[in-house]
């Protein structure tokens, strides 16, 4: 029938006009977000940007003051009860006296169409830990058990709130490998992280939040392009910043950290470089590099990274 053919696949996540305040502090100040099934999206922002509040509302743990939330067309409570969404929350410790298998079996028993526990264990890379008591797991192992707990409902949408916080490098790599295997099956993943290289490496799309609003949203490369596609650094004797800014393809010019060179953010680095060398024959010591997500992050959120516990490399 026509009605069936016209039916549109609902978005994995649809947020509209979402707001939440705690007293006079606004945590989320009206955000709209659509996520298509199959996307892997990183939600970034400094502490207090509203990421965790957004995640809590999305999962039905915190009611929004106003706005609408649907996950695959269903309200959050129904989506959670139906096993449509699985989540890894921050600050959840496991019951120390239970084994990994007991916890996963218990969660699986409550869902209608769960993933077999053995499969969740394998996907999370903890097949050898099934009989271990939670009290005897390392930090990285605990996180992967929590990933397995989120996978057991066999959800279409996986939500991870800072999943790799406090993990060492090896544990993080293993974690993302496990997450990648799951995402490769066409599932939707939304994660928050403090590690920008994780967003760059694992997300199709990044959403930057600041002060409860979304300040940038798009593919990683597009968000990076917002700060200028490439950056040219050069020694240009006697040139004034205004002259350099007037060069074709240059969107921003400022002195470099060493005080001698200048940094040119460029929308067209090739054109800018040709013009630079033509008009300033004395220019030298030229370096061209891609803008990093970190630069986009700083520029768009106005937040320094050092104090945020962000590993910026």
């Amino acid at each position: 029938m026509l009605a069936g053919m016209e039916r549109i696949t609902p978005h994995a996540v649809a947020l509209s006009g979402l707001r939440k305040s705690y007293g006079d502090r606004t945590a989320v100040a009206g955000i709209d977000l659509l996520i298509t099934p199959g996307e892997v999206v990183a939600l970034l922002g400094p502490n207090g940007a509203g990421k965790s509040t957004t995640v809590d509302m999305l999962l039905g743990l915190t009611p929004p003051d106003s706005g609408a939330i649907t996950l695959f067309g269903e309200d959050p409570h129904r989506a959670v009860a139906g096993g449509v969404v699985g989540a890894m929350l921050q600050e959840v410790t496991l019951l120390e006296d239970a084994t990994v298998r007991e916890i996963l079996t218990m969660i699986a028993s409550m869902h209608r169409a769960p993933m077999p526990v053995a499969q969740a264990l394998r996907l999370a890379g903890i097949g050898d830990l099934a009989e271990r008591r939670a009290a005897r797991l390392s930090g990285g192992q605990t996180q992967r058990v929590r990933l397995a707990m989120a996978l057991v409902p066999d959800p279409g949408l996986l939500v991870l709130d800072e999943p790799t916080a406090a993990m060492d490098v090896t544990a993080r790599r293993e974690f993302w490998h496990a997450m990648g295997e799951f995402a490769a099956t066409g599932r939707t993943v939304l994660f928050t992280t403090h590690y920008l290289e994780e967003a760059e490496a694992h997300a199709d799309r990044v959403v930057l939040m600041r002060d409860g609003t979304i300040v940038a949203d798009g593919p990683v490369s597009a968000v990076m392009a917002r700060v200028g596609g490439r950056t040219v650094t050069a020694l240009v004797p006697g040139a004034r910043p205004a002259e350099l800014l007037a060069l074709p393809g240059v969107v921003d010019a400022e002195p470099a950290g060493d005080g001698h060179r200048v940094v040119l953010r460029c929308s067209d680095s090739d054109g800018a470089l040709r013009a630079l060398l033509a008009r300033h024959p004395g220019a030298g010591d030229v370096e061209i590099r891609s803008a990093s997500l970190e630069e986009a992050f700083v520029l768009l959120t106005g937040a320094g990274l050092a104090g945020e516990g962000v590993a910026a490399r």
Binding site: T105, S109, R112
Partner: protein, 239 residues
């Protein structure tokens, strides 16, 4: 599908053998110590049995409920909110486990009373003592859950200890209320623990009890049940 969660909790409770042994050993040990004292004062050990069976049962139920404070502090309840398990399902499972661990102390005290203190009753008073006290423990399981929802994992033991002393001493479970000054005896008759022990006392005295005990305990069950549900719902949102 809720059965899976109950099974999980029962398994955890049964495995906690230290807790179970202590839950039985404390009232049984107290009975052995106090029954001689009672007899030397010309009181009947059967009366003490009612008090200590009530003590053992409600302490086990209260402790089990209150231990949910630890799970709440660890974020475990938030994790469970991401499953199809409803708030009611969680509370019912926890209450059921509290009731499960409340039974062995009652049976233990009854056994030691029969074997060591020569307490002799017919079948009906035995059944009334054991089953009546056990069933009367429901409001204490709810009280434990309420304490668990209200207290942080750090201060729960302090509150729980205070509640325990109030209910056991002032409720007349260790010392007969008849020996209390009138004001304290009045306070005792407000406490659910007094009425829980009354079930045992009534069974032993052959009067069968007045019917007031079940009524008071039922009223406590309703009030505490509502309080636990309201509190659990409010706790859903992270402040």
């Amino acid at each position: 599908m809720k059965g899976g969660y109950l099974r999980f909790e029962v398994r955890r409770a049964v495995r906690d053998s230290r807790f179970l042994v202590f839950a039985v050993a404390l009232p049984v040990g107290l009975f052995v110590l106090l029954s001689h004292l009672y007899q030397s004062q010309g009181a009947t050990p059967a009366y003490l049995m009612g008090g200590l069976a009530a003590f053992g049962a409600f302490k086990a139920a209260l402790d089990t409920g209150a231990r949910t404070a630890v799970e709440r502090g660890a974020g475990w309840q938030r994790q469970l909110r991401l499953t199809p398990l409803s708030g009611a399902g969680y509370l019912v499972a926890k209450g059921a486990v509290a009731m499960l661990v409340a039974l062995p102390p009652v049976v233990g005290v009854a056994l030691v009373a029969a074997l060591t203190a020569d307490v002799r009753l017919t079948a009906a008073p035995w059944a009334l003592t054991v089953l009546g006290i056990w069933l009367g423990t429901v409001p204490f399981a709810l009280l434990g859950l309420l304490v668990g929802q209200l207290c942080s994992a750090r201060n729960v033991q302090t509150y729980q200890g205070g509640v325990l002393i109030l209910l056991s001493f002032v409720g007349g479970l260790l010392i007969p209320v008849d020996a209390f000054p009138p004001v304290l005896a009045g306070v005792a008759r407000v406490l659910p623990s007094y009425w829980l022990a009354e079930i045992g006392h009534g069974a032993v005295s052959g009067s069968g009890g007045s019917g007031a005990a079940p009524a008071v305990l039922a009223a406590y069950t309703v009030v505490l049940g509502v309080a636990v549900i309201v509190r659990y719902r409010r706790d859903g949102a992270r402040a």
